[in-house]
Assembly symmetry: C2
Homo-oligomer: 156 residues x 2
């Protein structure tokens, strides 16, 4: 049981933007910081934009930035919105399920409750909580020193 | 986020054996009932045997049966034992993680708590609870009428 890379990368992108609130950031910069594909991050950015978590400014001086305060971004809600597949098992897909006992089996209900507990536990944390104790350390690990110069802006 | 098919099939196998407590059951029979691969089920059966949930009797009259009462089989514990991958995100793999902020990021802790809530919610249910309200209906949906004749036994 794993989150998809899409959700994993979305969380990492939000962490990056939270520790770099003063700048419009490019997907290339985020990709370099984490050692992950820029192309995948472009798709992740559009998911986060559609979900209202980030804004994308176009042009030479454009880039990504958080659309709201980290204290207003709950991690469970992020996962719910960016994880493309929360169908834990086949019968979660509903009418499309090929399992012959879908209509009477109580496992689906138990798994549904467990998923709700998973997401509500994550909702106890905001993006601000996630970076609270280590914001400057995170920035040091992620952001190249030259990128911290205020004049530097790249396109998303 | 999905359970692997291995865990999904393990849960289905336990449900099948619970609604058919009077017989040694073959993997072929279970595969036919759910419309899933017998070969995958053989591997699943060995996982469940190693975890102590089923016994496998060899020979012409052999087959699979539960090793303990359904009331003593907790669903969260089953998932913990049969799901081969509970590393929700890359950093759960520990030292092998390529994410540069693994050591300081608080997301891993939040996700770990959420996973614990997921499993402990499932642990509120036993296999007996899962079939309690619909055992006969489940048997009717899963088990072919001729397989219910006590004399019939096939190899696992």
């Amino acid at each position: 049981m794993r989150l998809t890379l899409h959700a994993d990368y979305a969380l990492r992108m939000l962490v990056y933007l939270a520790v770099r609130p003063d700048a419009a950031v490019t997907t290339a910069e985020i990709g370099e910081a984490y050692g992950i594909s820029k192309h995948h991050l472009v798709r992740v950015a559009h998911t986060l934009k559609r979900a209202g978590y980030i804004v994308i400014a176009p042009g030479r001086n454009g880039g990504l930035a958080l659309a709201k305060s980290p204290a207003d971004i709950r991690i469970g809600q992020v996962v719910k919105k960016v994880e493309p597949d929360l169908d834990l098992v086949e019968c979660f897909a509903g009418k499309g399920s090929a399992c012959p006992i879908t209509s009477v089996c109580a496992l689906g209900g138990a798994l549904g409750e467990a998923l709700a507990a998973f997401l509500s536990t994550l909702d106890r944390y905001t993006l601000a909580d996630v970076i609270a104790d280590s914001g400057p350390t995170l920035a040091g690990l992620l952001v190249p020193a030259d990128a911290l110069r205020p004049a530097r802006r790249k396109r998303a």
